[in-house]
Symmetry: D2
Subunit: 336 residues, 4 copies
């Protein structure tokens, strides 16, 4: 049983609180938030205490912290918590800036404390089943990976402005999925993007529709399609062509109902957004973290994975801006 | 918040314990079982007390009991618990004998206590969505209902012998679904059955494969297909032809993965059995019971529904034996 | 190359004319029809001659006739054509009256001429693939066969009146499919029907919705669901549960398009009716007939098959009327 | 009725011969081939004459020619045939060299004769249905188009060497589909490719796996995924995300059969290759050509369309080689 402090009581903090409480091997003892009332409400619901972030990190009886605060605080909190001897699960991304993330990694390494980054999609049962089948050699050698990742609706432009942009904010999950499935980081990134969903997103300096191609050292290719808007719901699909076949992970639908009328055969839509679709993956993510921490075994997602995905995001943003393929060398984007 | 006693700590008792504990409006306070150690183990896991059935029924601080004991005890326990002023949720069937169930209904009525029968499939989200679409008139008038209900593997013959037979034990769920969807009880039942899966089932006097046709007063027809064995898992589908279209509730699959190789496009199997497929329905069933009891509103499934399904089962068994359509008049099977 | 006379130039005659003309081993030389102008028009389109039925049968240069006239003429024409030494492909059913069909069979047998009955669905590529997989043992022993067969819209009541009723006119195809798939004729038939689609069909003495259960000697069961109306098109599906799995033949859809909007994922409807769905099966049927005739090998569908299906139809009609299971002994319906 | 000469009696010439013969408004009168015996065999099968290409072009009684010869002869034959006053349907691509194709276009224009390029996929019923739905506004404004186009197996390396490479030989169909669906030519092309399927393809200077992104003036993006090998068959899918939904054209499967066993639910594979999948599209293509020629109306695919697709192919090849986005200006690739 590990004692856990939760930093951040917002929407995603609420999701994590539930997972921590539901796990028999972890106990949610303290919650902090920028808005104290939010921490208090959530703490009351789970029998935990609302405390300050500093207090939680300083408390030697707390074994682990889950960082679910705003992105700009992630690196600092990872450093502080590991320095205080805690195991850390931090929401993605590590930082919006690659150099800061690399510095965080360097600063954290000496502590030897486990730091896991919250790429929860790896724990989605369908994607995990795809990965397992692939790793078992069921479709031979991987050749061409394709990820479709569309949000149901764009966030407010105010959020877009501070988000780091589509590549760092949204596609970063898909970059991690590609690296995870192929078991490697890409050597080159080519991206194109446009703001066709909403011109205001373009005016804010971001794109809302993008295609990113990752090139791996041995010739494997991954292509990621992103859109900020799919009116029918959260479209989250993966397919992988291999030398012996194709693996596809389809959407999770709202029901198994089909209604056939003169209008056609009408099936259910995908689950609406990540709170519906990935609820189970958050629970499994937490379970995996606790399992690794309590048994002192390797983390299923490392800080290095978080840095890798961020490097790809930076390369993609650069590629889209310059209209050139960007190489990745020693973990940093490099123009040829 | 209602205080609940659980009678029966077997496989299905375990399922219900979880639902009771997970519901914020109910508290699992006591558990009994024929095997005291089973009650003790389960009670320990949920912070409840292991007690005798008689003690639980006699305890005025307990508001409701959930009866998950063997079928031959259901009627007696319903009578005792309602006489003691408790609300009751009892697993199906009410009894293996229709006359005993009718007597139980008569004995219970004066108490005015709510008695709900555990036809959990009504609460399966897919079937509930089908019912909702149908009730909203989306496929017009219902005409021909078809239920496929196959178990993954037959139970031991020792169980078959005391089960009441396929019609009372297994098809009874489907009889309830048909009555529920059509909002009526049938006026005639025609059944055929055979033991082709396992001759030992035939030697035990039961069938393992059956087709039952229900005829409703206004000409609507329902057909139920049962088998004790579908090696690929629990096959639970419903389709309903109406004047304006067709509604289908498909199986719930183990994953959304498809693997396409030279052998074909290989998709996932249905969830293996009721503990997987209907876990959510048990949770929703309990929620609905608690909601009805705490707000003193109408139960979503009544004792009458339990008696109706049993009358259909009895008619089906008779029809299969005699090779004749059996009428249902005043709630009892009648030969024409 | 065989020379062929086509008797009947109606809707189905037109379908057959195309198949005969398209087959390199058969030549359409003559066409007759009750309405001479219909024969002339069709003959002109295919370079054949319009002649009387009697002339065609009497012409020794014609090797085979395809009988596509009204049902009441089938038996007489089969007898006349075989007596004249011709090979015969006759549309289903052999006759509306079982005794007349049996007499036709007896009268025809001495000629030794091949008589094939037009159960075209056996030649549908999907159903043929299902049969092939089953015969190869891919799902083990067959146990429960289920056939869904819904027309898109009921025929005029004037047709209903002379059709012989749903069991002889519509379900007869399904009876043949069941006998063909299981490789046997049933020993008992149980049917229920009602007229819920259109009361006028009931007033004409027929049903429009029916469920028929066939019981085979070794315990296998087949269930057939029929409706005269499925507004979304021709619903033609088969599924077969075996000891090692399930085989399903789905509908053939109008396209492979899915449109997903806020309303759901809208796929295509089934092909509208038999002219669309079974066009290929008519072509394959004719090919199989020509192949058998030119190589003097066994017909894929015999006159006996036509008689068998008719006996099942008669038993089904009787069962629905009496509310009793009807036995089939020595090829005739018998009340127990 | 138009009289048609077929130039080329190879595999695709055989496909076209069938379509020409099956169309009531066209008559196949003459066939030529580099291998005279091939022309003779095919001519005999359809009652046409085997003649030299020069003779066919010089014959004033022939109204149209279908060019199905090797790619290096296309431009010359288009010029010769139009100069001789014939209508032309020419297989794709116009030429392997963009400048030669542009010259052919310039040379041909004065004749005013119709020249259609054989982008048969536009006539595939499923893709045509997708285009029709999109043009009707059913998913709003188009934003992100995705084309999956995998061959079942790579051609011999000897063919690869003279093919012009994957972008000109294989992807050119997909470039035309993208331009056709969006009703525009792209303004920029970004491609990545690798030879991971077979190193011998890489040694021959080509790629076997590629992802090409097309950028359109208004921000719309199309992404094309190509592989020379999908062991399960010909994978030909299109999906289009719009402001109001998603359109998907799925594969055409070998059957509608599903077999569910302990191994999963095994459905059919896609049709194996273009002769199976696109047979119907060739027939519809010819019908559209004849219709346009006989009614003197606009061709559904023009020589300009052929030149456009070739310009995209050239840009893609350049982009993949240089690792840069390539602009298209005035119909020619331009480095920024």
């Amino acid at each position: 049983m590990i004692k856990v402090g939760l930093l951040g009581a917002g929407r995603i903090g609420n999701v994590h609180a539930k997972s921590i409480a539901a796990n028999a091997q972890s106990q949610l003892v303290a919650i902090s938030d920028f808005v104290p009332a939010a921490a208090e409400t959530l703490a009351a619901a789970y029998g935990a205490k609302a405390r300050s972030t500093a207090d939680i990190i300083a408390d030697p009886s707390i074994d682990a912290v889950l960082i679910a605060t705003s992105t700009d605080t992630h690196s600092n909190l990872i450093e502080a918590a590991t320095a205080a001897g805690k195991a850390v699960l931090c929401e993605k991304p590590v930082d919006l800036d690659l150099e800061r993330a690399l510095a965080c990694q360097a600063a954290t390494a000496p502590s030897g404390r486990p730091v896991m980054i919250g790429f929860n999609r790896r724990f989605d049962p369908n994607f995990a089943a795809l990965k397992k089948s692939f790793d078992a050699g069921e479709i031979g050698k991987g050749e061409l990976l394709s990820i479709t990742s569309f949000d149901p609706a764009p966030p407010p432009v105010s959020y877009i402005r501070v988000s780091g942009g589509l590549f760092r904010d949204m596609a970063i999950h898909d970059f991690d999925m590609a690296c995870w499935i192929f078991g490697a980081a890409p050597v080159a990134v080519t991206a194109v993007g446009s703001s066709i969903v909403d011109p205001a997103i373009g005016e804010a300096g971001d794109v809302d529709t993008a295609v990113i191609t990752l090139h791996f050292a041995d010739g494997r290719i991954a292509v990621i399609k992103n859109s900020r808007r799919a009116v029918y719901g959260y479209d989250q699909r993966i397919e992988l062509l291999g030398s012996d076949g194709l693996l596809q992970a389809g959407n999770v639908l709202e029901s198994s109902i089909t209604k056939t009328t003169v209008q056609g055969a009408i099936g259910a839509k995908p689950e609406y957004f990540f709170l519906e679709r990935y609820m189970r993956s958050y629970e499994m993510e937490w379970r995996a973290f606790v399992q690794a921490v309590t048994t002192q075994s390797a983390l299923p997602v490392s800080l290095q994975d978080g840095v890798n995905a961020l490097a790809v995001a930076e390369a993609a943003a650069l590629s889209a801006r310059l209209g050139k393929t960007v190489q990745l060398k020693n973990g940093r984007p490099v123009l040829a």
